[in-house]
């Protein structure tokens, strides 16, 4: 049996592969290595300023007494954000996927509606929810007033992070639902029929058939979610600005340190410091991702 090469023949395959590899090299690997290197320098945001090698000084600044409290707070927010988003997004997406996999009238329409937020960009989502949660005139304020309360929403220190988590879950549901739907559709119908014959109700079917056989989809979704939300700052930036202490995330700190500056966001550090923060974040994300991956793979192989 002859081997099949896409693009016709080995030569074509190797050329296109090396073309792709050049892209990855130039746009992903080289910048990644460069970030590690510049985290050991005091490179600034503007060109032609002399660059000095400072060793681990940037890392020492990150863990220094002046900055540690703020950075730990940002890390705490990041972990709360990541785990909340992952748990809620996957639970809700699973339930929606189960509902949408049944023979529901208008099922295609509902699927389109659920998937729509994925198509909208971060700025559009941020604008929509900023308007909804406008404390003076938005729909959110109206609904709150039915319960006799009023709130500053994104300006309220206590609920700002919860609201950002809510919007992030809403924005990411579409993709998670699609992955779960694909997984559910791969489960053989006969299993459900057998279960019905044995007298199992809907919740028992969910617990003993759907969830265990969805393990690979779970792995994919949870991993994507955790890695994505540990680094995500776009929504927090658009909804609450770069300097709100309640929603300060580690990746947001990288952004403001590297590209901030001026009286609105305070003094800017060198970009070497920003690179150091992002290396610390890389290590944290790496450790958590590997731990989650190992755990989920083990769960998968159990079924």
């Amino acid at each position: 049996m002859s081997e099949f090469y896409p693009f016709g023949g080995r030569a074509g395959l190797r050329s296109t592969f090396s073309l792709g590899m050049s892209f990855v090299l130039v746009f992903a690997i080289v910048p990644a290595v460069a970030v590690v290197v510049i985290s050991f320098t005091d490179i600034r945001g503007l060109p032609y300023i002399p660059i000095n090698w400072v060793g681990i000084e940037n890392y020492l600044t990150f863990f220094s007494g002046a900055k540690l409290g703020y950075n730990l707070h940002a890390l705490q927010n990041t972990l709360v954000f990541a785990f909340s988003v992952t748990i809620f997004q996957n639970l809700i997406a699973l339930l929606i996927a189960v509902v949408l996999s049944t023979k529901l009238r208008g099922r295609t329409f509902y699927r389109a509606v659920v998937f729509m937020p994925t198509v909208l960009g971060v700025t559009v989502i941020g604008l929509i929810w900023s308007l909804i949660f406008n404390p003076s005139a938005g729909p959110g304020a109206s609904i709150w007033s039915w319960f006799g309360a009023n709130s500053a929403f994104f300006g309220d220190q206590h609920i700002a992070l919860a609201l950002v988590i809510f919007v992030q879950v809403w924005a990411g549901l579409g993709l998670a639902v699609v992955i779960f739907l694909a997984g559910i559709q791969a489960i053989p119908e006969e299993l459900y029929e057998c279960a019905s014959i044995d007298g199992a109700g809907a919740s028992k079917k969910l617990r003993h058939i759907t969830v265990p056989l969805l393990a690979p989809s779970f792995t994919a979704n949870v991993l994507l979610c955790i890695v994505g939300s540990l680094q995500s700052y776009q929504l927090a930036y658009v909804l609450t600005g770069p300097n709100n202490p309640a929603t300060q995330l580690l990746s947001l700190a990288v952004f403001t340190q590297a590209f901030g500056g001026g009286t609105s966001s305070g003094s800017s550090q060198s970009q070497g410091y920003a690179a150091a923060i992002s290396m610390v974040q890389f290590v944290i994300v790496g450790i958590i991702s590997i731990a989650v991956l190992v755990y989920l793979r083990r769960q998968e192989s159990k079924t």
Binding site: A11, R14, F259, G261, S267
Partner: protein, 445 residues
């Protein structure tokens, strides 16, 4: 597997290698482009002039008007004007400068006082020292600007920037109709301000409008507090020096009073002001939701267009000092300062543009649209700016332009008055916020 139609392996490997090299080279070269114009040192400007500024509706309109007039006078020049949103400006500026892809940009090099270590030097100052910007000191157009303004933008005896105007921001816009309705007059002392605000509140009108969601608009109350409690430039300079030399603590009586004033002003702000965006303030003011709003004179065109003919409005300094004499001036800053990078490809056109910009006829056009106060003498000003002339006779630099921030200090000591953490913007009391700022400030020294 058949092998009859395969060419030799060596040709394959060479083809693959060639493709990779070409692809990598193409990708690396693809980034920067840029046709400048003629870089001749004299003669009429030609070619493309690349111009970036930080965007703001009023000043963008001003620049566009001058650009149109410039292109009309020199048809051989095409201006590529990019008004970049504030939040993205630093990143855009950095990448354009690195690529050598900009001819006029913003820069604000500020010389460090002697008591501050070199590590606190800002990017623009470092860049100016490294020769990133063209030295404009000997350019004839600089003579058109007011010496008092040039004294502020001077960097180690040289001029690297063209000051496009001056803005003041330690005051409030106030609704004259609402003031008349409740028989209120412009307050000149802190006690009068408090009494006035309480009266407004008891009549169901929010005294002050603050766009707290964006963070920095709440900082304007802090700037006003320092303006009233440390009125002269010398007072502020001494405070800055005292902080750097550890002679003044942020928990001392007068510095703590700054945060106390801020906290009181938060109390006068509209309900849930921490969630209201800065861009929603002009509409709220126009609808009479609040009687005053802490804002800068740069925003006057926007507020004027929001208010229209509904009511008359004015501007006065927030009287955070105890005596009328302390509250007699508005704190301000030199607005957008334009610089020409040394790496600019079309310096000729850039310098010609700046010369054109500073000519009184064109500058008047700009300043009228932008709402800035003039940085040149004898320029016709708007009625609004005339109305605040008594507060702006001598230029008083606002606190945030005097204070040198310490990048090594903790975050609570950025301004260094910790208005961000005072409730309800943050969750601390005035004493806690001041103590936190003091702790973070000391940690960096």
């Amino acid at each position: 597997m058949t092998t009859s139609s395969l060419p030799s392996r060596r040709v394959h490997r060479r083809a693959v290698a060639a493709v990779s090299v070409l692809a990598t080279a193409a990708l690396l070269a693809a980034c920067s482009s840029g046709s400048g114009g003629s870089a001749t040192s004299s003669g009429a400007p030609t070619g493309t002039l690349k111009f970036i500024v930080s965007s703001s509706d009023a000043s963008d309109a001003g620049f566009r008007a001058v650009n149109a007039a410039f292109m009309k006078k020199y048809p051989a020049v095409k201006i590529q004007f990019d008004a970049v949103p504030n939040a993205n400006f630093a990143a855009t500026n950095s990448s354009r400068l690195t690529a050598g892809n900009v001819d006029i940009t913003l820069a604000g090099p500020k010389a460090l006082p002697s008591y501050v270590p070199a590590t606190a030097e800002g990017d623009d100052a470092r860049a100016a020292q490294a020769g990133v910007y063209v030295d404009l000191t000997s350019q004839p157009m600089m003579k058109r600007f007011s010496p008092s303004v040039l004294a502020v933008t001077d960097f180690k005896g040289k001029q690297y920037t063209v000051p496009t105007g001056v803005s003041y921001y330690s005051g409030v816009y106030y609704n004259k109709d609402l003031f008349a309705k409740y028989g209120l007059s412009v307050p000149t002392t802190w006690d009068q301000f408090v009494t006035l605000s309480n009266k407004l509140r008891s009549n169901g009108v929010a005294p002050l409008g603050i766009g707290g969601k964006d963070g920095w608009p709440a900082g304007l109350t802090m700037v006003s507090a320092v303006q009233g409690l440390y009125p002269s430039a010398q007072d502020k300079q001494s405070l800055d020096q005292g902080l750097w030399q550890k002679k003044v603590n942020l928990t001392d009586a007068l510095p703590a009073k700054v945060l106390d004033r801020v906290s009181t002003m938060y109390g006068f702000a509209q309900k849930n002001f921490t969630g209201v965006a800065y861009t929603a303030i002009p509409a709220g003011f126009a609808n009479g939701e609040f009687a005053m709003t802490a804002d800068g004179t740069w925003n006057e065109p926007t507020i004027a267009s929001a208010v229209g003919s509904k009511f008359k409005f004015g501007y006065f300094p927030i009287p955070t000092g105890d005596s009328a004499a302390a509250n007699a001036t508005l704190g301000g800053k030199v607005e957008l300062t334009l610089a020409v990078p040394s790496s600019a490809k079309n310096k000729n056109a850039a310098l010609a543009y700046l010369d054109f910009f500073s000519q009184p006829a064109n500058y008047t056009k700009f300043v009228t649209l932008a709402g800035f106060a003039s940085s040149e003498p004898n320029i016709a000003t708007s009625d609004f700016l005339k109305s605040i002339q008594s507060y702006t006779k001598t230029f008083s630099p606002a606190w945030d332009t005097v204070f040198v921030s310490n990048p090594k200090a903790g975050n609570a000591a950025t301004f260094p008055f910790n208005y961000v953490e005072v409730a309800p913007l943050g969750s601390m009391t005035v004493q806690q916020a001041a103590a936190h700022a003091q702790k973070d400030w000391l940690a960096g020294l």
